[in-house]
Amino acid sequence: MSVVGFPFFIGTGFVMKGSGIAPEIRARLIQACERIVEAEGVVTDPEELRVYDCDAFTFLHRCPPDLVVLPTSTSQVAEVVRLCHKLGIPFLPRGAGTGLSGGATPLAGGVMIVLTRMTRILDLDLPNRSATVEAGCVNLWLTKAAERHGLFYAPDPASQPACTIGGNVGHNAGGPHCLKYGVTTNHVLGATVVFPDGEVLRLGGKVGDAPGYDLVGVFTGAEGTLGICTEVTVRLMPQPEAVKTILAVFRTIEEASNSVSGVIARGIIPVAMELIDRETIQAVEANVKAGYPLEAGAVLLIELDGPRAEIEAEAVSVAAICHRQGCLDVRVAQTEEERALLWKGRKEIAGSFSRIAHQYYLQDAVVPRTKLPQVFREIEAIGARYGIRIANVAHAGDGNVHPMICVDRNVPGCEERAMEAGSEVMRSCIQAGGTVTGEHGIGIEKREYLRLMYSPADLAVMHRVRSVFDPAGLCNPGKIFPVEDEPGAVGGSSQRGSAVSTP
């Protein structure tokens, strides 16, 4: 069986020792960094460095950085970056390390700049409904701070209690509630960015639509390859008047996904519409007892928010649509406790799975919402073909599927099979008109899949952007782009031609 995916690193627990920066240069670097951030802000001990050898994507590749620096200010970040730039040493940013595609995993050592000591909320600007935070500020802290004033920060990735706003910007993070309110890029108004040569620029801000190219827009989701953001200004939104959480229970995943299309086609935009399949329900119920019926083939967790009268009317429509698809039951949470419990089930999926599978490979792809039934059928067939369990959860309202491919490392060849199955899942999503990642990013995991979506000419445009921001190619090198496509190796002009990409 041929693997389109990973031409290298395939195999279990590939661990590299470091970049092989000459010891005397490393010593100089450590000394210089200690001058910038004090000794307690520099990690050099090999045992401690192993903590940083990967993010939450633990497959394929691990490598500790040569050293970790924990700055406390933008100017310290800039100084460290300038130092690396001068010495020609690669560097990469890291927030909480909760990323799911290896974006914060060092490819071959270098300096890791960790922003977890820059956690302040610098400005909670209520009249302008915006906040400026340091990049290391945890998503949930911002959410809590805004809540006290009747506002909220919309992007809510599952790792919300740990992940940082800077990391969210890097990966253009999403979350269940992004269906109605959009992902990180729709909420970032401005950022202070340390460019890969150490220059500090304040891009965008509270005042919108200033003339000029949308640098904030292209920076967001660039996975730390265009620079390091140290401060972020985000939009806050007023809390809705009312929230209604509905659990719709279905015999089959097909009925559930048809209901998703039905709701969208009706013009209703729930704040979240999460699909959870039988396999996942079993795992969750064994763990947290969220009240998902064990006999169900799938459930939809649907949340509506907005003016009370509006969501009452929408809830009636949603129930009718689900019933038309033959759903077994529609339950509306009657109390805040019931609502919290329904969501607890969704949020504990990851934890619940680690109880039943040794490990799982969490995929992320997006398909047109009308193609969900087809794609779920194909995923099932792929699982059967590889003899591997694939459970499905999805931010179904967005068409964002998250197949969870179970891996037992004790079974020889299981991890390889999982990766290959993942690769096939990707291809079937692309064939359905989709995209290879909705919110986890490319990192190191999906570099090869880029070619399934983008032509060489499309990628050349991205390289062009990279070469403008980071001509030396030192900032988080080796990420996003297919391996032999690394910028630096590719000149802007040599990529020109009349190639036309496939639509």
Binding site: P127, R129, G150, N172, G182, N186, F195, L201, G205, V207, G208, D209, A210, P211, G212, Y213, D214, L215, V218, G221, A222, P238, S261, I264, R266, G267, I269, P307, R308, A309, E310, A313, V366, V367, R369, G399, G433, G434, T435, T437, I442, L450, Y454, S455, A457, D458, V461, R464, V465, S467, I480, F481, G492, R496, G497, S498, A499, V500, S501, P503
Partner: protein, 434 residues
Amino acid sequence: MPSSELRAIVGAGFFLEGDGLEAYRLDGKRPQAVLLPGDEAEVSKLLALAWEEDLGIVPWGGGCHQSIGYPPKRYDLALDIGRLNRLLAHEPADMTATAQAGIRMGDLQQQLGEHGQFLPLDVSMPERATLGGALATRLTGPLRCRYGTARDLILGVRVAHADGTITKGGAKVVKNATAYDVTKLYLGSHGTLGIILEATFRLYPLPEVERGWWLAAPDPATGQALANRILGSHLVPNRVELVGEVAGRACGVPGPGLIVSISGLPETVQGQWVDLERMAGEFATWPAEIRDAEGAWRRLSDFPWRNPGWDGRGIRALWRAGVPPADCAKASQAIREATPRGVVTAMAATVANGALRGVSRAETLGALVQSLAAAREALVSLGGYLVVMALPDAARDGIDVWGTPPEGLGVMQRLKAAFDPKGILNPGRFVGGI
């Protein structure tokens, strides 16, 4: 100029030269030829040839917002995308559609409307303005209050580059984190990085009902306070516009104040109206229902591009400005105070986003330029900016239409150099002479 080769690419009927190019005049300059390609392949060939011959090209949509920006440094060709005007795909159940850039916004909305959907980009003059132009200028209308801007609505684009290469950015699904979001770069870039040929966007359902109200406010500060109250509440208005006397009248309301609209099912709109009425009461005002709501929305999004009901006297400049959202009233007050005697200014602000737009009328060029400069200075001191969108050619020397370049200009210039090293796309028209 390789006229015969250019003509051969598009066909004689779609290669215009000599007389009849008046409509394409910019700052007194006319192009040597106008090209109307019929498909993507023709655009690609035309650009490849222009690239080889080093010809300056101005991409052209409806032509109704071409006054924005500096005059082109070189203007050999206008590339009119008007024939690329098809809705290519519409998936009502997915709430997405893909259209060619030359489609008129009005035509697009009409076709989407047949399925009860629309693209909530209410740019001015939709009967002329094209989708491509709306994206390249990233102009916004009052509806952004609820639906955001092109930035939030566009999922992907196909773009023709300076050398004729055609690439895509983004995808046709509503959520995507795949590599760089290059689509964002083209939006608002005034065609200086590439020519948008096609875009995929998310759609919204046309509301069952939409009702609008005028809430009189004795002064902008009261209007702003009421707007803050509404925008900070659980209400979900489509529009919250702070209008001055002249702009208000131009849009069909009796005077200055707030224009608010809410959409949804009849009963839910009624529910929000009750709350709106209560909030208005806190500011000693009352929501008076706008009877010709459709007409009011059209006039409001056309403002200030269409004549605000003034006679033909005086000379005019159109502008847009940005300030922190809570400072719209301060900004309008500051602009008024900075306006010299004899100059009349009409303005409206989309309060949720701190986006102002307006028109200034003066008796002399000197007074016009002076008033714009003073207004800009006042806004800059609030942390904002002012862009002049249209003014008499003779006034161009008196004021920099883009104003002080934003932070990051160096990066923008390097991007331009990387995307269009010969500088053939809309040369010199954008910020900092990009």
